[in-house]
């Protein structure tokens, strides 16, 4: 029988009806705490990441509100300068390392990547569980530094300050070092999964754009994270042994540290934003019910961003004292990241053109993303221009810019994706009414928080300031009020999503009429994703074809082939 299966031409493929009410799904197939903590199921691991990052987003968010409250007036409102410095450092470090880097890749990516490929799991399920535990251990170290002596260096750990300060730099950087390995292992796992675990017929040209984005992200994770690891290892050695590579007092060079740090941390920006591009492609395609315009342009621009993004780290250092030549070269390269990014935005707009647009909550977030991310993008061009950068570097303009990209971009896409896949992950529908209300509140709150920061930044307000001169007070107060509005928006989301778990309407397998494989299984999915081996004969966005064309598969009990290259040709569908 294996002979029959290895030959694509004689493969038996048939339609499978989606079981809308399977008695067993991945959530109830096993129970007990152990079945979660030691699961190798990518979906459960994804949910555990989701819970962890939600926790850290809450912690980081509360810290942000504390900071904004302190900045309501230039005087001391809640805390002294030392405490303020610790809190902004923790806000940054938690949001970057514990929330945003694992947000879309580790939570949504883990849940969706194998299903979208038509696989039962990622290539290395145990390694996947290990990544989660490594992440948790790293997080524990980071939190331990809180208990010992909260770090006050800023999330960038610049030397020599990070060598001299009395705070728990070693614990914190060691935590980040450990979490780096989690990121590396997840990236490796995803790359291998995309290469080797695709369902029959899932050619590269049929991959959902979310997968392309995850693939590009994983490449950056594997490429850049090891350099962060060695940088932090050297920093730890600098503090413990005084090796003198980064510490000028011992003959080292602080600019070298900055090069090392940004060699990772700039690509890390793309680890944060590229997955968001993937989510947006899915949302806009589905809710416009239209073939995504320029599939290859979007797919390849993710890889182009990954590539060019690895060569531009020096634009964080235009006034650091690096050579003028480096500054000019890095500025020149920086602008080229703008091209593939712009291409994506135009392609998404073109997808909406002549579509059938359903402004559900996820689509609303996608539109908010387009607006906010465009602002984030063009202000990035502003910062890339060397002469203007001299004025804007290390001011609130930069703060506003990266919040527009990271929060207006990644977090909005993450929220859109969370609402979009919420029915798939939980089997329950969220409240559409409250979904839209909170999206609007978040949009208003976000702009109120960060638009004033652009203005005070270009006016000259430096970042990481505990206190400020009077002229900036109005802008700071607007920003603080905005942050409260933003906070309310997130509280509403937390309430109605939690409510939907108990009282939400039951979700159908494909509430949005999407075409990718994640919607061709029940909601929530079965323990091993599918009862059959899916076979792919259409593109991920072929909305002009009937949906029945997308539920093709081979029954598991007749399929034991080894065509791991996924190269079953078109005729397999015709043998039905």
């Amino acid at each position: 029988m294996s002979a029959a299966a290895t030959n694509g031409n004689t493969l038996k493929v048939r339609y499978f009806d989606i079981d809308e009410n399977p008695p067993k799904n991945y959530l109830n197939a096993e129970s007990g705490l152990k079945s979660w903590l030691f699961t190798v199921d990518h979906k459960r691991i994804g949910l555990m990441y989701l819970a962890s990052i939600a926790l850290f987003f809450f912690v980081g968010g509360v810290l942000a509100l504390v900071l904004r409250t302190e900045l309501f007036t230039p005087a001391e409102n809640l805390m002294n300068a030392e405490t303020y410095n610790r809190i902004f450092t923790l806000h940054g470090a938690i949001m970057v390392f514990l929330f945003i880097i694992p947000s879309i890749p580790a939570a949504l990516g883990n849940f969706l990547l194998p299903i979208m490929l038509g696989a039962k799991d990622v290539a290395f399920p145990r390694l996947n569980l290990a990544s989660f535990w490594i992440y948790s251990i790293g997080a524990l170290f980071t939190l331990a530094s809180l208990a010992v002596n909260p770090i006050d260096t800023g999330w960038t750990f610049y030397t020599p300050y990070s060598v001299q300060t009395g705070s728990a730099v070693i614990l914190m950087t060691f935590g980040v070092f450990i979490m780096g390995f989690s990121s590396i292992l997840t990236g490796m796992n995803f790359i291998v999964t995309v290469h080797k675990m695709r369902a029959p017929g899932m050619t590269w040209g049929r991959l959902p754009l979310f997968i392309w984005a995850m693939y590009a992200t994983s490449v950056i994770q594997v490429l850049a994270t090891p350099v962060l690891a060695i940088t932090l290892a050297l920093l730890i050695m600098e503090r413990t042994l005084g090796i003198g590579i980064f510490d000028p007092a011992l003959g080292g060079d602080p600019v070298l540290y900055q090069h090392f740090f940004w060699f990772y941390s700039h690509p890390a920006v793309y680890i944060m934003i590229v997955p968001a591009f993937g989510v947006i492609s899915e949302l806009i395609g589905t809710f416009s019910r239209k073939t995504v315009f320029g599939y290859w342009a979007i797919a390849m621009s993710s890889l182009a961003i990954a590539f060019i993004g690895s060569l531009v780290w020096g634009h964080h250092m235009f006034v650091s004292g690096q050579s003028e030549l480096s500054t000019v070269v890095f500025s020149f390269l920086t602008f080229f990241v703008g091209i593939p990014t712009g291409i994506k935005i135009f392609n998404w707009l073109a997808t909406m053109h002549k579509g059938s647009i359903d402004m559900k909550t996820p689509m609303l977030y996608a539109c908010i993303f387009l607006f906010l991310f465009t602002i984030g993008g063009v202000t990035g061009i502003m910062l890339g221009a060397i002469s203007v950068n001299v004025q804007l570097h290390d001011t609130y303009y930069v703060v506003a810019h990266f919040h527009y990209v990271m929060m207006g971009g990644t977090v909005m896409a993450f929220l859109g994706g969370l609402h979009f896949w919420w029915p798939k992950m939980t089997g329950k529908m969220y409240s559409e009414f409250w979904g839209r209300i909170s999206a609007v509140i978040i949009f208003i709150g976000f702009n109120l928080t960060f638009l004033p920061q652009f203005i005070m930044g270009s006016q000259g307000m430096p970042r990481r300031y505990y206190s400020y001169i009077e002229q900036f007070q109005t802008m700071h107060q607007l920003s603080t009020i905005g942050s409260y509005v933003l906070g309310i928006g997130f509280v509403i989301i937390a309430v109605y999503l939690a409510h939907s778990l108990w009282k939400g309407e039951k979700a159908t397998s494909n509430p949005w009429g999407a075409r990718t494989l994640d919607w061709m299984t029940s909601s929530p999915p079965l323990q091993h994703n599918f009862n059959y081996q899916p076979v792919v004969t259409n593109g991920a966005y072929d909305y002009h074809k009937p949906i029945s064309d997308f539920t093709l598969g081979i029954s598991d009990d007749v399929y034991h082939g080894n065509d791991h290259e996924g190269d079953i040709r078109k005729q397999s569908a015709e043998t039905v």
Binding site: A75, P248, G252, V255, G355, G384, S387, Q459, G460
Partner: protein, 317 residues
């Protein structure tokens, strides 16, 4: 237009500031056009093509080469313009004229020292003549951390490092007082590390120079000297005069008050204690404050200056 400019940017007070601003406005205008266009497209498409029924069908449009080339090439041209423009101005910002007036700048946690070619020293305040290129030769104090010198109205910013010299230059176009900031995070006193650049007419500058050179510090009363040292040595970065708690304890009402230390002991803040805590700050650390005062003042301050500081603190009752 004037109003808009002032809304986004502080007044332009150096020779190259206007060029920087022009590029800033150019990018803003192009960005605004782009943003408005995208927003209109989103809103228009969302209304015009809203879903009418669940049976809606959409056309199959996979790509459009003309369109795609257009939206690749136009941004490409724009970014090349922006790069060239920024590069051109940057070259000017990095090329001090040969006849520049040179000032040595030293940064430390948390303050600034400026030394003029004629030997005049200023602390946390820089006085320069108008319409004269000024070249700043900058370095952070040995063993100190990174700082950055930022004068928003001059569009000038440059990091300072303890292990090498960096430089920057400006030419102020009119007299006035312009605030400068530290923009490289450096610890507890970071946000207090600001000061004033005073731009004077050549005559005012000359008479100021004469006055400074003629002043005899040794003839000053001790408390007066102490007030000068309080700013010049950077005490004000951490120790307030109004009772506010900064990185370190306030100087207001400090004299003869009981202090509690991290080792559990207590002491009355008399003259002997004040002197010891200046020259050996690591020995007795006040409860509630970090142990991060630089252990350098025994070397950098003269005995008379230390006594002056003590007298100054005594007066703050």
């Amino acid at each position: 237009m004037e109003y808009l400019t002032n809304f986004f940017l502080p007044s332009a007070e150096s020779t190259y500031a206007a060029n920087v601003d022009a590029l800033f406005h150019f990018i803003n205008i192009v960005s605004l056009i782009l943003l408005v266009g995208i927003t209109i497209a989103i809103v228009y498409f969302s209304i015009k093509y809203r879903r009418k029924s669940q049976e809606d069908t959409t056309p199959l449009i996979t790509h459009n080469t003309t369109l795609e080339v257009t939206w690749t090439v136009i941004p490409l041209i724009l970014i090349l313009i922006v790069f060239g423009w920024g590069f051109n101005d940057y070259v000017e910002m990095r090329t001090p004229p040969a006849n520049s007036y040179e000032v040595y700048v030293e940064s430390f946690s948390f303050g600034w020292n400026f030394e003029h070619p004629n030997g005049i020293r200023e602390a946390n305040q820089l006085t320069v003549p108008v319409a004269q290129p000024v070249r700043l030769i900058m370095r952070s104090r040995d063993g100190d951390v990174l700082h950055s010198f930022f004068v928003p109205q001059f569009r000038l910013k440059q990091d300072l490092m303890p292990n090498r010299y960096t430089y920057a230059w400006f030419e102020a176009i009119r007299p006035g007082e312009f605030v400068y900031f530290c923009t490289e995070y450096c610890g507890g006193g970071h946000s207090m590390m600001n000061g004033i650049v005073r731009v004077k007419t050549q005559e005012d500058f000359d008479s100021w120079t004469e006055e400074e050179l003629g002043r005899d510090l040794d003839a000053l009363p001790l408390a007066e000297l102490g007030r000068l040292v309080y700013t010049s040595a950077g005490c004000q970065g951490c120790h307030s005069l109004d009772g506010a708690s900064r990185v370190g304890p306030t100087f207001a009402g400090l004299y003869m008050r009981e202090r509690q230390f991290t080792d559990g002991s207590t002491r009355i803040a008399d003259e002997a204690y004040l002197i010891e805590s200046i020259v050996e700050p690591q020995v007795l650390v006040n409860v509630g404050y970090p142990n991060n005062m630089p252990n350098i003042y025994a070397q950098t301050l003269s005995e008379r200056e230390i006594l002056g500081l003590v007298e100054f603190i005594k007066e703050l009752q």
